[in-house]
């Protein structure tokens, strides 16, 4: 069957992969993967899907379960109902309330609270 095959791979709901998944294109996981995933495209862990392993992708959307670290060059979105445990690294991390998350977020930015004027309050007294 002629199918634009490079783009999207799908691991169906009853599919279980034990091992490493790598390569190009995007990946939608409705089943389960035990092992690391490293792809050049977008990854999606659908509701009911689960990954026990680290994920490296261009973008990641999690509606299922992820136990592992994430390295994304793009956004990481955790949807309501997702369960995520691990370290998350991405350009933008969003977490919907209702998800169950125990994660360390690593975002590279400077937090500058701005300068404090020197004890002005003391002077006023």
């Amino acid at each position: 069957m002629a199918r634009p095959s490079f783009d999207i791979s799908v691991l169906g709901p009853s599919t279980r992969v034990t091992g490493r998944v790598t390569g190009g294109g995007s990946l939608r996981i409705e089943g389960s993967v035990r092992g690391d995933i490293q792809i050049s495209g977008d990854a999606e862990i659908a509701e009911g899907g689960s990954v026990e392993g680290n994920v490296t992708a261009e973008a990641l959307e999690i509606a299922g379960t992820l136990l592992g670290d994430v390295v994304s060059s793009g956004p990481v979105a955790i949807r309501n109902g997702a369960v995520v445990r691990g370290e998350l690294r991405g350009s933008e991390i969003s977490i919907e309330p209702g998800s169950r998350v125990s994660a360390r977020l690593v975002a590279d930015f400077e937090l500058d609270l701005g300068p404090l004027p020197p004890a002005a309050a003391a002077k006023r007294r």
Binding site: T18, D36, N54, E87, V101, S102, R104, L105, F109
Partner: protein, 203 residues
């Protein structure tokens, strides 16, 4: 309904703030904030200290931990360095966070230096040894070399290598499990039943 207070844009509070009602911060607090009601750090507002409340909404900057009995919500433009803990946590697109996030009931992550060992954990054999159940306090249990799934690793799942290639900047102590056997000859005997069964056991 409790009172609501406001720390205006030009106001700086040096010290802790406590109260029963809700609090909106447009200015600056150098100290901890602990309210019975809702705490809002508005755009332009900043807190250098921990914040506790029933619900915490952040549009500004916080350097400190956020602990809420209901929800912590970080909106676009928020910048937070610190840990977030609440039954519900929301981080909108465009909010920047550095720290741990924990929704209620979730086990705490292992401390950072223990996490360093994590890559070694995610090998299939480790899964077999340690079911990653909710009860697990740490995400990086010690790697168990003596798992029963020796035979399964027909290929070189060199996760360590994979991890290093992927990104991880710090040099991680490679808790190398005994190196996997090299791939067996191409046509292994059809002991399919046995192997397939093994797989299913792990589930």
């Amino acid at each position: 309904m409790s009172q609501s207070s406001v720390i205006g844009a030009g106001t700086i509070v040096r010290g802790n703030v406590e109260g029963e009602g809700s609090l909106e911060i447009f200015g600056r607090v150098e100290g901890d904030v602990s309210m019975g009601g809702e705490v809002t750090v508005s755009e332009g507002g900043a807190v250098r200290g921990n914040v506790a409340g029933e619900k915490i909404s952040v549009h500004g900057a916080v350097q400190g931990d956020l602990l809420a009995t209901q929800a912590v919500l970080l909106e676009r433009g928020a910048k937070v360095v610190g840990d977030l803990s609440a039954p519900r946590v929301g981080i909108a697109n465009g909010a920047l966070v550095r720290g741990t996030v924990r929704t209620e009931g979730e086990p705490a992550l292992a401390a950072p230096n223990k996490r360093v060992a994590a890559p070694a954990v995610f090998k299939p054999s480790a899964f077999a040894a340690k079911p990653v159940a909710k009860a697990e306090p740490k995400l990086a249990p010690p790697v168990e070399p003596d798992d029963e799934d020796d035979e399964d690793e027909e290929d070189d799942y060199d996760y360590d290598q994979q991890r290093e290639a992927a990104v991880m900047p710090p040099a991680r102590p490679k808790e190398k499990e005994p190196e996997r056997r090299p791939p067996p000859p191409v046509l292994p005997s059809l002991g399919k039943g046995a192997k397939a069964k093994k797989k299913k056991h792990r589930d």
